[in-house]
Symmetry: C2
Subunit: 380 residues, 2 copies
């Protein structure tokens, strides 16, 4: 028996507690039972997003939540600044193009991030820009963008900052109100330890004020209409009931650990993974500002990274991820977010050593484990 | 103990077999495992939709599937014919308005349907119309529209027929190809016996040809892009993995029964419910063309139908539904679709007798049961 282990950067494993909660009988969404569930979930989401604003759950994937944030605040012909350095950043570009907006493209090479100074200069030169679109954690390259600094830079402008936090919510600290981020959106299948299918959008007053002038057409994702229902603990359309039931349990688990501890755990797992990978002589792809959600690693010289994924899967029944687009074959990505703990990292590194040896690479067996354990042995 | 029974017109109960399938570990969506799952599900969906066209699954509710069908085939300024007689018909009207289309409104009073002749006259007078938008089963009133006749009428025109089959797929026969329906869309939470969160759209060649001229902006719901992935058994964005896993099991259960038998079962349950309700002296709301998905009943003179729902819930732990919008307080709706069988109808009717008696109405105890049983005793 090789136990199945899902160690990709999302979707992430779902704890049995959540799976069993979700296996309870479906309840109807216009009943006192659902209302009571939704009251709990609404309050819990505000705590997770660290905001006093309402967090609106939507039946969609993370990209749907991106689109909801986008179409409710913008109009065709608007100028937006896309701050990007990876595939999910590209997605903002594609969306802006699809909806007929003018894009100022502020890109960094994959594996790097865009310094806040560049955004500051861009906004100064383009005061008519309506929004800055970016990611917090860029899953495709393993980079964490400094959205705190982006928010500080954006604050003095008419533009709003829209942050895709799909792979950072419940993983890296992102105090929406304290940092002054105007829109935070996320999805269910990463830090929240749920199946994919639920998106979330939270907007502050500055962002809500943009909805009054936004002319992009919308119906399913009309957040102004959605909010009317949510604020009375109701839903506009049939919600993804079972995932909402699971969400209450996931919030309970996260809060039992403590949100600050959850962030610390992810930081430790990420540091241990990076230390382990480097101990094997491999190069990290995101050097300066790695995300705690995943670790992107450059494949050894002459090894196609797709072969590494294949060996993880075939020899060890572990799913990791490769590079996307131009990075295909060049990097592999180890997820350590959501329902992930120390010995998951140990397993991922142990498998990596075996995989590399199988592929004919020189390996100091146990070397990555030792490096990771030193991180885990730290008292802090 | 009062067993919880969900007897509303959607979401419907999810069989334990499906719940347990969904409680299996989440798999990643870019793996051979998911591809094998998706191959099964793709083929099964074609059989359920009775089409050779690809059925595209989307992470959204039924309304999202309506929007996907809409924004991929139409352009702002287009004229569309909305054939409506209930709240879900109104939704097409709202969507067309939100997207800046011209609407020719062909409405029937709630509880009735629009005769195909009216649609024929409308299309003759408006040959520039681009689409006819309607429901197959109108859940808000309990009416089944004659979409077979609508398709026959639409066939000779440039317009495509877009049918919302959210509460008829796997419930009432709807052979998409044989009837020549251009677009059929549905959702997971009714006849398919799944949790809400998965929508579906199938389009024939005539409908796909419209996507080439459609200028409504779209990104998340871009079906042209989505199809490129689906035809190679891949997905564009993270899918609602757990519901897709459940879908394979639901398809297996439906096909074990046989699709034709599933339709017969729903027809029997509906006829039995109607017979039972009428035996109690109550009036059916949809007389001429009732849907087999649910039965809408006019509340007795002087009784607010909301009191009937409340009594079902409080005294018997059964969720049914009331009227929506202008029908609130006037009708109640008993669902008998999806994972519903003979003794569920008996329970619903038995509870109805007890509820009516509690509300001071004269009741011939057992009268509705007798009427229903006569239907069930029929050998056909």
């Amino acid at each position: 028996m090789k136990k199945y282990q899902l160690m990709a950067p999302g979707p992430t494993p779902v704890p049995s507690e959540v799976l069993l909660a979700m296996a309870q009988p479906i309840i109807h969404h216009r009943t006192p039972q659902y209302e009571a569930l939704f009251v709990d979930v609404r309050a819990g989401l505000k705590r997770l997003f660290q905001t006093s604003a309402d967090v609106l759950p939507l039946a969609c994937s993370g990209t749907g939540a991106m689109e909801a944030a986008f179409v409710n605040t913008l109009s065709a012909g608007d100028t937006v600044v896309v701050v990007r350095a990876g595939k999910f950043g590209d997605r903002w570009l594609e969306m802006a193009t699809a909806y007929g907006l003018d894009v100022i493209d502020v890109a960094a090479p994959f594996g790097h991030s865009v310094p806040a100074e560049r955004l500051a200069e861009t906004l100064k030169a383009n005061p008519h820009a309506k929004a800055v679109l970016t990611q917090h954690s860029e899953s495709s390259t393993g980079v964490l963008h400094d959205v705190r600094a982006y928010a500080a830079v954006t604050r003095g402008h008419d533009a709003i900052l829209i942050v895709d936090a799909v792979s950072s919510l419940g993983i890296a600290d992102l105090p929406m109100d304290a940092w002054g981020i105007d829109v935070v959106l996320s999805g269910s299948q990463k830090g929240l330890m749920l199946p994919p299918g639920l998106g979330f959008v939270a907007m502050n007053d500055k962002a809500w004020s943009k909805t009054r002038t936004s002319t992009l057409p919308k119906y399913y994702f009309n957040l102004t209409e959605e909010r009317k229902f949510v604020t009375r603990n109701d839903v506009r359309f049939t919600p993804a009931v079972s995932i909402v039931i699971g969400l209450r349990e996931a919030i309970r688990m996260i809060e039992a650990e403590g949100l600050a501890n959850v962030f610390k755990r992810h930081d430790r797992l990420a540091r241990a993974t990076r230390a382990g990978v480097e101990a094997l002589g491999l190069e990290l792809f995101a050097k300066a500002t790695p995300t705690p959600a995943l670790t992107a690693v450059v494949a050894p010289e002459g090894v196609d990274s797709e072969k590494i994924l294949a060996a993880y899967s075939q020899s060890h029944n572990i799913t990791i991820a490769g590079g996307q687009g131009e990075m295909k074959g060049k990097i592999f990505r180890l997820g350590h977010m959501g329902y992930a703990a120390e010995f998951d990292v140990i397993a991922a590194l142990s498998a990596l050593e075996l995989v590399l040896a199988d592929l004919g690479q020189p390996v100091d067996f146990g070397g990555s484990i030792r490096a990771a354990q030193k991180i885990f042995a730290e008292k802090s």
